[in-house]
């Protein structure tokens, strides 16, 4: 558990593999150790006649869970379940059908550096592995509240990415959430971080990649 910040890494006339290689070298130079691979994938199930989507996502960091987010256009309802949820989705196939073409995944090496966990994911879409971009996930494990460690993560990202590092808090955290008290603004930024937050960040970025009409230059 910790706070995870996901940020896209702009490719500057480099191929994805080259960028990953370069970042890995940088991390290793900082003293990180590679600790296996990771994989985050997202699938969309669409209702056959209503405008309802179910995003079913898996994260190798949480190997016993399936994350699903029900999206009916206005509201997103997250649900965390056991692995057998996948089988359940197969059962309801006539109503909710999967779109293989927009299945998207991010995978790559996973590095450990002190309290930080860094994952360099190259995003590919559909079955023919269309390369879409690079997503860097930084997890600061000792902390639970994003507000407390955002500065630390920002600094770490600046050290790692230099100019390309994000300067603003990711939009996901600053969006105002519905609250019981209308006078009080409620942000995820000051709330305890949940594993579903990581998945929702991924979903946001995946959706952005899906919207892009064409793949960036490879």
């Amino acid at each position: 558990m910790g706070v995870t910040i996901l940020t896209p890494y702009p490719l500057q006339n480099k191929s994805g593999a080259e960028a990953i290689e370069e970042l890995s070298k940088r991390l290793l130079a900082l003293g990180a150790t590679q600790a296996g691979q990771f994989l985050v994938d997202g699938d969309i199930f669409e209702h056959s006649f209503k405008k309802i989507k179910i995003h079913v996502m898996h994260n190798s960091e949480y190997p016993a869970s399936v994350f699903s987010i029900l999206d009916n256009g206005q509201k997103q309802i997250p649900l965390i379940t056991d692995l057998i949820f996948d089988l359940l989705m197969l059962k309801v196939n006539p109503i909710y059908s999967s779109k293989k073409m927009i299945k998207i995944e991010s995978k790559g090496p996973r590095f450990e550096l002190g309290d930080f966990l860094v994952k360099l994911g190259s995003v590919t879409m559909s079955q023919n592995q269309n390369f879409k971009g690079i997503l860097i996930e930084v997890d600061y494990r000792p902390c639970l509240v994003p507000a407390f460690c955002w500065d630390l993560i920002k600094e770490f990202l600046q050290g790692l990415l230099g100019q390309q590092a994000p300067t603003a808090i990711p939009g996901y955290f600053t969006n105002t959430l519905p609250s019981n008290n209308p006078n009080q603004h409620y942000h995820r930024f000051n709330d305890t971080y949940q594993p579903i937050d990581t998945v929702q960040q991924y979903l946001e970025h995946f959706n952005n990649y899906r919207k892009q009409s064409q793949a960036p230059t490879i």
């Binding site: 960091e61 949480y62 190997p63 016993a64 869970s65 399936v66 965390i80 379940t81 056991d82």
Partner: protein
């Protein structure tokens, strides 16, 4: 009595004797009634003869009309006889027809004439028959009487059912001894059979036996216990034996004992077997640095170098031997270890049976934590932690190691406290501890000076290591070797002595010149270094140097130097301060000095040196 019809004989006035009682009284037959008499007499009449001789009155009315009076044909006689026969047959037919109607004629059975019997034989036969019947009745009455006194089979069965699980299988009653309802998964069935004890003759030794008998399978008979011994080169260090019963339970000698005891013993055998089976399985599966050995009924595991844990299953059916062993095993018995062993198996059973609700079909037998892992989104690290679980044997080994470590630590501290008299070593053991962790607080102080200086440290005794926390916050990890702890305590004593001396010097206005906890000079110590301290008197004319060595024993050496007594300023050396020039150090014969202990002696010494100065 058979007589021809024509002779009529009077019936005797005396009645017939029916039977004779044992006392000789005769029982008479009641006289016949009129109707009975008539029937008997009628039975004696031969109607055929009567018909032949005298034309029967009744038949005559029917015959007269049909018979021709005279005929002289040659076959006349034959014709008549045939006609007579025909007539008789038809009459008989008619009589049968009439009697069938039951309106006019009733047929009564003709009582047969009783056969001629010998009276005495009859009497004897009856006597014998009655005697047999009486004996049967008496035996039955006896049994009923006994049942009223002793326990009834049904009541016993009811009592048995209150404590044990029974079920009826066809004609027999089968009971279950196993721990299956408590979550056991052991394969040995553990069934016993309940039968009624027919042989209820009271035996000499133990009153009336129970009418209920239990039959226990051969593999569960006898007495069993699990013996756990920690051994160091053939020498037993501590032992525990585990069974379900209390130690003083004596095995029932013969079959007449009460079923309750018998069942308890059988269940104990089952318990021991299951426990051992589980342990042996784990011993084979575990991959220890020094592999565990399972031979027959014995498991050997190495706790610490040279120290072995031996778990053996003792199961015997010969009672004499077992009694001896029971006596033997009481030496050095560790109740705490025994309790822990019990606790461990119960925990396994508990885990087998207690699953969180709801029980979904496929998730049965999965820990609650694992069930929650998916919906709670446990990460890799948490899931990995979850897979780690200690097996029973591992826990037993850990506990045995801890017990051994604790004993060793106790021994080291006690011997040190005994050997080192000067600073007193007091160890406070925590009374409440876990099976694998305990701690001891050690206080070192000098008698009479405990307000000046106290040294305390805490030692955590773990499974294979010790953790010492000093008062200044230093944490030291020690291995299982007792020498390390000994060295640590000795060093602490040296520290204590020097620190005490410093405080004392301050109180007496002496100056501390130097202090070293690791004196690099002098004879090389095999372990650690000597501590030293140099103090000077208030006007600096005397210097005392103290060296405390801790190897192998606490040795204190005190040296003293003083300035030359007579200082005469000369032309070359004029200043008065040259008087304070130190002279040679000479050793003080410290053991000869007055004083109870080191600090006391030092106080005297300092006082003496200060005094002289004035």
């Amino acid at each position: 009595m058979a007589q021809s019809v024509s002779v009529s004989v009077e019936a005797p006035i005396e009645n017939q004797i029916l039977s004779i009682d044992y006392d000789g009284t005769e029982v008479y037959q009641t006289p016949l009634t009129q109707s009975e008499y008539l029937t008997r007499n009628a039975a004696r009449i031969n109607f055929t003869k009567a018909a032949e001789t005298t034309e029967g009155d009744k038949k005559a009315d029917e015959e007269v009309s049909t018979v021709p009076q005279s005929s002289l044909a040659p076959f006349e006689n034959i014709l008549i006889k045939l006609r007579d026969a025909y007539t008789e047959v038809s009459v008989l037919h008619d009589v049968l027809a009439i009697s069938k109607e039951k309106h006019y004629l009733v047929l009564d059975p003709v009582p047969q004439e009783p056969a001629e019997t010998k009276q005495m034989a009859l009497v004897y036969a009856r006597k014998k028959a009655l005697g047999t019947a009486a004996s049967v009745l008496i035996a039955g009455a006896e049994r009923l009487k006994r049942c009223d006194n002793g326990p009834d089979f049904q009541i016993e069965l009811l009592r048995l059912r209150q404590n044990w699980r029974l079920k009826k299988v066809s004609d027999s009653i089968i009971g279950d001894l196993s721990f299956r309802t408590a979550g056991s998964k052991f394969f040995v069935p553990g069934n016993f059979e309940v039968v009624k004890n027919d042989d209820t003759t009271p035996s000499k030794s133990s009153g009336t036996p129970s009418p209920l008998q239990v039959i226990i399978p051969a593999e569960l008979q006898g007495i069993a216990y699990i013996k756990v011994v920690t051994q160091k080169d053939q020498e037993d260090l501590c032992s525990a034996s585990v069974n379900l019963l209390n130690e003083n339970a004596e095995y029932p000698k013969a079959k007449e004992t009460y079923w309750q005891k018998k069942l308890e013993f059988a269940q104990n055998v089952l318990f021991c077997k299951e426990l051992f089976n589980q342990l042996a399985r784990e011993a084979v599966q575990l991959q220890a640095a020094i592999p565990h050995v399972v031979i027959g009924n014995q498991i050997r595991a190495t706790l610490l170098p040279g120290i072995q844990l031996i778990i053996s299953l003792c199961h015997t059916t010969s009672y004499q031997v077992s009694e001896n062993e029971v006596k033997k095993k009481h030496d050095g018995h560790d109740h705490v270890l025994e309790h822990s062993l019990h606790q461990l198996l119960r925990e396994v059973h508990h885990k087998n049976i207690h699953h969180p609700l709801p029980h979904s079909g496929h998730a049965y037998g999965i820990a609650k934590k694992r069930l929650l892992a998916g919906p709670m989104a446990f990460d890799r690290h948490e899931l990995w932690e979850m897979t780690k679980s200690q097996t029973l044997l591992e826990q037993i080994i850990a506990q045995a190691q801890h017990i051994f470590m604790r004993k060793r630590t106790q021994y080291v501290l006690d011997t040190l406290a005994r050997d080192v008299k000067d600073p007193q070593i007091v160890s406070h053991w925590n009374a409440l501890n876990s099976p694998t962790m305990s701690w001891v607080k050690i206080k070192i102080n000098t008698q009479g000076y405990d307000t000046i200086c106290r040294t305390s440290l805490v030692i955590h005794v773990k499974e294979r290591s010790l953790k010492a926390i000093c008062r200044d916050g230093r944490v030291m990890h020690l291995s299982y070797e007792p020498q390390e702890l000994r060295d640590l305590i000795l060093t602490q004593i040296c520290h204590h002595q020097i620190a005490g001396l410093q405080s004392l010097a301050k109180c007496m206005a002496w100056q501390l010149l130097s202090n070293s906890t690791h004196l690099g000079i002098g004879a090389v110590e095999p372990l650690g270094n000597a501590h030293s301290c140099v103090i000077a008197s208030p006007n600096a004319d005397r210097t005392i140097a103290v060296q405390v060595r801790c190897d192998p024993q606490i040795v204190v050496k005190v040296y003293i130097s003083h300035s030359p007594k007579d200082f005469y300023p000369s032309g070359l050396v004029q200043g008065k301060f040259w008087e304070n020039l130190g002279g040679n150090f000479r050793e003080v014969r410290f053991d000869k000095m007055e004083g109870k202990n080191f600090l006391n002696k030092m106080e005297f010494l300092m006082a003496a040196c200060t005094k002289k100065n004035h």
